[in-house]
């Protein structure tokens, strides 16, 4: 018998033999590939025959059979109550295999938690995250101290690579988003200001809102989505492919070479990105103001330092440092917790980005409250 899918269709027929007993004759090809298209139909017929009660099953007409076919038939004749079965000798091992498999029980799936324990587990989960995060902060702080103590041995190469990837390569996207936001904000505000004849205040509005709030938050959210996710994924893939283990056994400190450079790079890179975003957003604002109010750019630039205290800029850049450290720490925190499987990788990356963006906005609110007396005095 060749191994090709034979043409003979799987067939079942019922009859009565000489001694008046029911006889079920099974013929044709009972291979999975052949059965699959009409399996439902066959299974129904088998069920009907099995419910008909005891019978002799003659499987000698089967030309070809595999494990799936054997399991299907075996289930049917067992359902009919262990009747007589005739098989070809060469098919016997197949049936024996299926029989043996049934004997070994499968461990039950993991039990679901009772509902009253769910909040407790949730609290423990959050505490676990907090604990992990605090430990991470401590380790990174110690690594930074170590790098400062011996700056010639610090991982400058990694820091500069990270700076390039998270900072330089993000220039285009932050510029695009910043410019558009600047244009839109300026356009909408100008319309309102025109109503009151307070055209000149466009400089104050744009200056304060962009330099103090929008620039830092926009850049931070973009970086969280762009670099935070890639940092988490990088660490996660290194876990999945056992690269982290390889580093450990080589005695290369993971925190020092992987985490700390990311934190330092973002702490430097994000404030610079914020400066850039501020500048481009203000440019967008100026362009729109000129178009809408006829305000010249030179006038805008001239007035800006007079009406927006420099403290706002410092505040924005200070936020940038905090956001940068936060995003990198969260990304690494989630990255290092990824288990070696792809699903955990996906979930970890999502959590990392969502948490980072939420935290950026939360911390921004805290800043707003803490520094409410700074930079707004007119």
């Amino acid at each position: 018998m060749s191994g090709a899918v034979p043409a003979a269709a799987p067939s079942l027929s019922e009859s009565t033999d000489q001694r008046g007993r029911r006889l079920v004759q099974v013929e044709g090809c009972w291979k999975l590939q052949r059965l699959a298209p009409e399996l439902q139909h066959i299974d129904e017929r088998l069920g009907r025959i099995a419910r008909g009660g005891e019978a002799r099953w003659d499987l000698q007409g089967i030309e070809a059979i595999d494990h799936a076919g054997a399991a299907l038939l075996r289930r049917a004749w067992l359902q009919a109550g262990s009747p007589e079965v005739l098989t070809r000798p060469e098919h016997e091992p197949l049936f024996r295999r299926i029989e043996a498999a049934r004997a070994s029980p499968l461990p039950s799936a993991r039990k679901r938690l009772p509902p009253w324990l769910v909040p407790g587990v949730w609290v423990l989960h959050v505490l676990g995250h907090l604990h992990g995060f605090v430990v991470l902060v401590g380790l990174v702080a110690m690594d930074i101290a170590r790098a400062l103590a011996r700056p010639w041995k610090a991982p400058w190469r990694e820091i500069s690579a990270n700076l390039y990837r998270t900072g330089a390569q993000a220039l285009a996207i932050t510029a695009l988003v910043g410019f558009l936001i600047g244009v839109v904000l300026s356009f909408l505000s100008s319309n309102q200001l025109k109503l009151f004849g307070a055209d000149l205040f466009i400089v104050n509005i744009l200056g304060v809102s962009i330099i103090r709030e929008l620039g830092p938050v926009l850049a931070a959210i973009l970086v969280a989505g762009r670099s935070g996710s890639s940092m988490t994924a990088q660490l996660g893939v290194m876990r999945v492919t056992q690269e982290l283990d390889a580093m450990s056994v080589m005695g290369i400190p993971q925190m020092y070479r992987l985490v700390m450079p990311k934190v330092v790079a973002l702490a430097i890179g994000l404030p610079l990105l914020i400066l850039w975003t501020d500048a481009v957003a203000l440019l967008g604002g100026m362009v729109a103001a000129q178009a809408e109010l006829g305000l010249s750019m030179l006038f805008f630039i001239d007035t800006l330092p007079a009406v927006v205290p420099i403290a706002n800029l410092y505040l924005g850049i200070g936020k940038g440092v905090v956001f940068g450290v936060l995003i990198a720490l969260l990304a690494c925190h989630y990255g290092l917790r990824i288990r070696p499987n792809t699903e955990s990788l996906g979930a970890g990356t999502t959590s990392s980005v969502v948490t980072a963006i939420t935290m950026v906005i939360l911390v921004d609110a805290v800043f707003a409250v803490l520094f409410r007396d700074v930079g707004l005095g007119f």
Binding site: M1, S2, G3, A4, V5, K31, L32, Q33, L35, A36, P37, L39, Q40, D43, A64, D66, H67, A68, A71, L72, R75, E90, P93, L94, R97, I98, A100, A101, R102, S104, P105, L106, P107, A109, R110, V240, R339, P340, N341, T342, E343, S344
Partner: protein, 271 residues
């Protein structure tokens, strides 16, 4: 001893003609012709980096050769309709060099996946089939709920094999099936493949460096060396070849030991 389990059928299941592979400037294969007959076990050997895995990937339609054609079950893999390719794919099973289990699925679900993909079997039947496959490769049912990251290297290999066998394929591709198995497991692997050949009329293409497995299983051996097939034939003929690679591979100390066993077996039951 393996030849008598091949009941006559000699039409090729895999047919490679004039195959060239280049990666950039480097030539990996330069004109390869190879037939794998129905029901036979073809052993593919060659030095590390000689392009065995690449050739296997081309037989699986994962890579396209630079020139030449690969036919499996008479279907030209690189020039056929999608539906035809799908049909061919449901008739073969593949064990990758590193297992390639789905890391997010448990052992049970890994093996059940191809069965569920058919959308024809009910869960009770799938359960029976999965357990029988697990048993075939010697994995106890208690490991069925584990995740791939909780398994040993040898277990990953065996579960990969169980998954390859899930759909009862007619053709099996194995990349280094016994690497990472202890001698006892290698022995039972050899036995399993022999049994499956009888039960399912399996054809096998096997890349291996394990001479014992090769001697025990392969009906014919193809030696890949210097971009070409140096020789294709029964292992005894191939070993007689005068070539540096063949000499080192088969007639090194390890090779001689494995071949000794072959000689002994042949004395006991001449083919």
């Amino acid at each position: 001893m393996a030849a008598d389990t091949n009941p006559g059928g000699t039409d090729p299941v895999v047919e490679i003609t004039g195959l060239w592979t280049c990666f950039g400037q480097t030539i990996v294969h330069a004109g390869i012709d190879l037939d794998v007959r129905r029901g036979e076990v073809m052993g593919l050997v060659g030095g590390s980096g000689s392009g065995k895995t690449t050739l296997l990937r081309q037989m699986l339609a994962l890579e396209r050769p630079h020139r030449g054609s690969v036919k499996v079950f008479g279907v030209d893999l690189h020039g056929c309709a999608r539906a035809e390719l799908e049909a061919v794919r449901s008739r073969w099973g593949v064990l990758f060099q590193n297992g390639a289990l789905f890391s997010a699925l448990s052992v049970y679900d890994n093996i059940a996946l191809p069965l569920r993909e058919l959308r024809a079997l009910d869960e009770a039947l799938i359960h029976d089939l999965v357990l029988s496959k697990l048993q075939m490769v010697g994995i106890e049912a208690q490991h069925a709920r584990k995740m791939p990251s909780q398994l040993s290297g040898g277990m990953i290999k065996r579960i990969g094999l169980a998954r390859a066998l899930a759909l009862d394929p007619e053709l099996l591709f194995l990349d280094e099936p016994t690497a990472g198995l202890d001698p006892d497991r290698s022995e039972s692997f050899v036995k399993l493949i022999q049994e499956l050949r009888e039960e399912l009329h399996l054809s096998v293409v096997m890349v291996t460096h394990d001479l014992d497995t090769l001697v025990a299983l392969a009906d014919r051996v193809a030696v890949l060396c210097e971009h070409r097939l140096l020789a294709v034939g029964p292992i005894r003929e191939v070993t007689m070849l005068e070539h540096a690679f063949v000499r080192n591979f088969f007639r090194g100390e390890r090779g001689l030991r494995a071949l000794e066993v072959l000689e002994d077996m042949q004395r006991l039951m001449p083919i």
